[in-house]
């Protein structure tokens, strides 16, 4: 009797195992049958030909996207549901969960090479779309044109143009370490008249702000001053985490210069909010953040910004070597179309986003800087004009840090920048430690 019972239990468990095994995704080994299955999964689920789902990684533009979805519904009758994530949520992790559950959105956000590598073979090729010929910011890999760019962002040393003017510093001369040293010293001497707390708002807090140092500042070592498609230093990094010692030492010296003139009380543990608020209030002449802070300055910090006179801003290159005169611009992330989703409807929607009516919302309301040549809108964002100027002058470099080893900034380099700022590492040791952590990150 006992045996009969256990046999039955075993049978039931096996059955349930089989039931669960059927639903979970399988190795790439048996692609064909799996694809058939996931396609079937979709036909069984809710989505019909008349609805698409978009996972958006910029929660701050949620309202604008929902407005676009409503416009699109009115025009074509296709339902677009917008699912916005952000504010520190691990979007790729969530997407992986969706994939495991057979609940993939039709359009989802990808942040760069490593994200696209995860989804290799699962993104639809969009090279045939009309917009693909209209931009040079699309993401292209072995699967074809897989990433739809929706905005362009820039990394440079943002400055308060009014203060620089009052101090008699011409930002266009800031293309060498010597020029920076002179400019910093000049402004430092006039701090009281200009109402400054410090010359530079350089923050290195490693818990929440690691991306500013570990990704953006470090990204300048990889790309500043280079042609858009020059990947010399990025390739070195990918080859076991090597750094070019000469270039990196120059970079380290420039970081030391930033530290010397930084807001000492905030440099170690200040927050992003404090950094932007202080810059918007006119307390720093420079801030080590890129064009995205414009949105914060004109919304959350708009009172402080108005009180400081809504000063003009601009961006200078991180010129840690003589002659570096470019800022880094790129699409910060792209929208990809899931191959087994509602591909045609998704493609049609993305194409529609490049039309005039949609571009107006994306640029004027979401504050995006259009990566499409045909778009004539310029956002009211304080930094929009600067980016356009650099683009027109051809003084932009690409950025490749999105393809750095996953977690490099969060788990390794962010902390090293903080130690350097604390004085726990001197310049030589900083370079050594950076070499070691990069080798560890890429070796492991």
């Amino acid at each position: 009797m006992k045996r009969w019972l256990s046999l039955l239990l075993a049978a039931v468990l096996t059955l349930s195992l089989a039931a669960c095994g059927g639903g979970s995704p399988a190795p790439a080994g048996n692609d064909a049958s799996e694809n058939a299955e996931s396609a079937a999964d979709n036909s069984g689920g809710a989505p019909s030909a008349n609805s698409i789902r978009l996972v958006n990684g910029k929660i701050e533009v949620d309202a604008a996207l929902k407005k676009l979805a409503a416009m699109y519904k009115e025009e074509t009758g296709v339902d677009v549901s917008i699912e916005s994530m952000g504010g520190g949520i691990d979007i790729q992790g969530t997407l992986k969960g969706y994939y495991q559950a057979g609940n993939m959105p039709d359009i989802f956000v990808n942040g760069g090479a490593s994200d696209f590598a995860n989804w290799a073979g699962l993104c639809a090729d969009m090279s045939g779309e009309a917009w693909a010929a209209d931009t040079d910011a699309a993401y292209i890999n072995d699967d074809g044109t897989v990433g739809f760019p929706y905005t362009v962002e820039a990394i440079g040393l943002a400055y308060n143009a009014d203060i620089l003017e009052k101090a008699g510093v011409d930002p266009s001369t800031l293309t060498s370490p010597a020029a920076y040293e002179l400019a910093f010293a000049t402004i430092d001497g006039m701090k009281d008249e200009l109402g400054l707390t410090a010359v530079v708002g350089y923050y290195t807090e490693p818990v929440n702000l690691y991306w500013s140092t570990g990704n953006h500042l470090f990204g300048n070592y990889e790309d500043a001053g280079l042609d858009r498609d020059d990947t010399t230093y990025f390739d070195m990094l990918n080859n076991g985490g090597q750094l070019d010692v000469d270039r990196f030492t120059d970079f380290a010296k420039f970081v030391a210069l930033l530290q010397q003139y930084a807001d000492q009380s905030m440099m170690i543990s200040g927050t992003y909010d404090q950094q932007i608020l202080n810059f918007a209030s006119g307390k720093y002449a420079f801030v080590t953040q890129g064009s995205w802070i414009g949105a914060t300055m004109t919304t959350d910090d708009k009172d402080a910004y108005a009180a400081a006179g809504n000063f003009k801003v601009g961006m200078a290159p991180y010129a840690f070597q003589d002659g570096i005169d470019t800022i880094l611009t790129n699409a910060p992330s792209w929208w990809a179309v899931y191959k087994d989703g509602n591909v045609d409807a998704a493609k049609a929607f993305l194409q529609w986003l490049t039309t005039d009516a949609a571009q107006e919302v994306l640029v004027m309301e979401a504050g995006f800087i259009s990566p499409f040549n045909s778009s004539s809108y310029v956002a009211t964002d304080p930094f929009a004009q600067t980016i356009v100027d650099y683009q027109n002058a051809g003084k932009t470099s690409g950025w490749h840090w999105l393809g750095n080893k996953e977690g490099l900034a969060q788990n390794y380099t962010g902390q090293v920048f903080n130690d350097y700022a604390q004085g726990a590492l001197d310049t030589d040791r900083f370079v050594q430690v950076m070499q070691q952590v990069c080798a560890t990150a890429y070796g492991g």
């Binding site: 059927g22 979970s24 399988a26 058939a36 299955e37 036909s43 790729q92 992986k96 490693p206 929440n208």
Partner: protein, 351 residues
């Protein structure tokens, strides 16, 4: 008595066969895909299960009827336990031996992930400080919790208020708590300490311990309070008549009487400190530098084991390696729990 009603038997068999057929059909639909009734496969599955059990229930036997009923009643729980615990555990162990990326795997790598994790200096560091953290907290949380419990069972005024007040931090989620304390350390205490405590590894580690005690001591206190109030009044009265002062009473009467509570609390703090994750993540996210550990500079000074696993899988995108670490984590915790059960059982016999 063993005579079988053929009509009932036929009905039972009919149900059983129908149930198995429905089950098979729904599973086949799910695996193959397609079919006109594809979207009703869930309903078909449920009907299959119901029919199967109805057949079992109606099966005309007297000797096994009880067992059948038992199985039917147990089935929902066993099934849920299997689906939510056993299967994920087995899948996890399997994934730890592949190069799984969270999306798919391409090859079976055997024990390579396990070998790799022990060659990772930062992981060894995480193991080390997790053990340190557990030892510190096992002692400190229990001391603080017990001291608070003594206060809250004394004849002070407003004891009810204090009990609630000490317990309150435990009701706040660890993430919220971590961010609140991060603000306190970075913006308030920094005025006293000069540099934020969170910027140097040793002080950041101490900060996590302090926050953890703040969060957890109230909970442990509550258990001790429950223990202390069960100490019989007549024993205490007898001790008082014999001339025992408060300290002697505590040492000779109260503590021996609540020995089992102490065991429970010790193991509670042990396992929960070992699993520390949310405060660690929100407060420091594992940052803090170690200048030289086994010849290497480390950037994960305050990263405890659970957070190390999470960051390995999510932020470094090495799901398989993270899974291997998680299996080790499971083995350690399972050992601790087994020891705990052993000890608690032997104590119960004593009492």
């Amino acid at each position: 008595m063993d005579s079988v009603n053929p009509a009932k038997k036929a009905l039972s068999l009919l149900f059983l066969i129908a149930g198995v057929a429905l089950l098979g059909w729904s599973l086949a639909m799910d695996c193959m895909g397609g079919g006109a009734l594809y979207q009703y496969r869930g309903a078909v599955l449920i009907f299959g299960v119901i029919a199967f059990f109805a057949g079992l229930y109606l099966f005309p036997t007297l000797t096994h009827h009880r067992d059948i009923v038992n199985v039917i009643f147990l089935f929902p729980l066993l099934f849920t336990f299997g689906v939510t615990v056993i299967i994920p555990l087995l899948l996890g162990i399997f994934y730890s031996m592949t190069d799984w990326t969270g999306i798919r795997y391409t090859q079976f790598v055997g024990l390579a992930n396990y070998a790799q994790m022990f060659h990772e200096v930062s992981f060894l560091w995480s193991l080390l400080i997790t053990v340190l953290f557990v030892v510190f907290n096992m002692v400190l949380v229990n001391l603080v919790g017990f001291a608070l419990a003594l206060l809250c069972t004394s004849r002070l005024k407003g004891v009810g208020f204090f009990r609630a007040a000490y317990f309150l931090p435990n009701l706040i989620g660890g993430i919220v708590l971590g961010y609140v304390w991060q603000f306190v350390f970075n913006n308030v205490l920094v005025k006293v300490t000069g540099a934020s405590l969170l910027t140097k590894t040793p002080s950041a580690f101490a900060a996590i311990i302090v926050v953890y005690i703040w969060q957890y001591a109230g909970y442990i206190m509550l258990i001790y309070v429950n223990g202390l109030v069960t100490v019989p009044g007549d024993v205490l009265e007898a001790a008082a008549i014999d001339g025992a002062n408060a300290f002697t009473t505590l040492l000779r009467i109260k503590i021996p009487m609540i020995a089992s509570t102490i065991t429970i609390c010790t193991f509670l703090t042990l396992t929960s400190a070992f699993k520390q994750f949310d405060v660690n993540m929100a407060l420091t996210n594992g940052t803090g530098s170690v200048m030289d550990f086994m010849g290497q500079y480390l950037s994960n000074g305050t990263q405890m084991l659970a957070l190390n696993i999470y960051n390995t899988a999510i932020s470094k995108n090495s799901y398989a390696l993270g899974q291997a670490k998680a299996v080790l984590f499971f083995i350690i915790l399972a050992c601790v729990s087994l020891v705990q059960v052993r000890i608690s059982n032997s104590k119960e016999v004593e009492l």
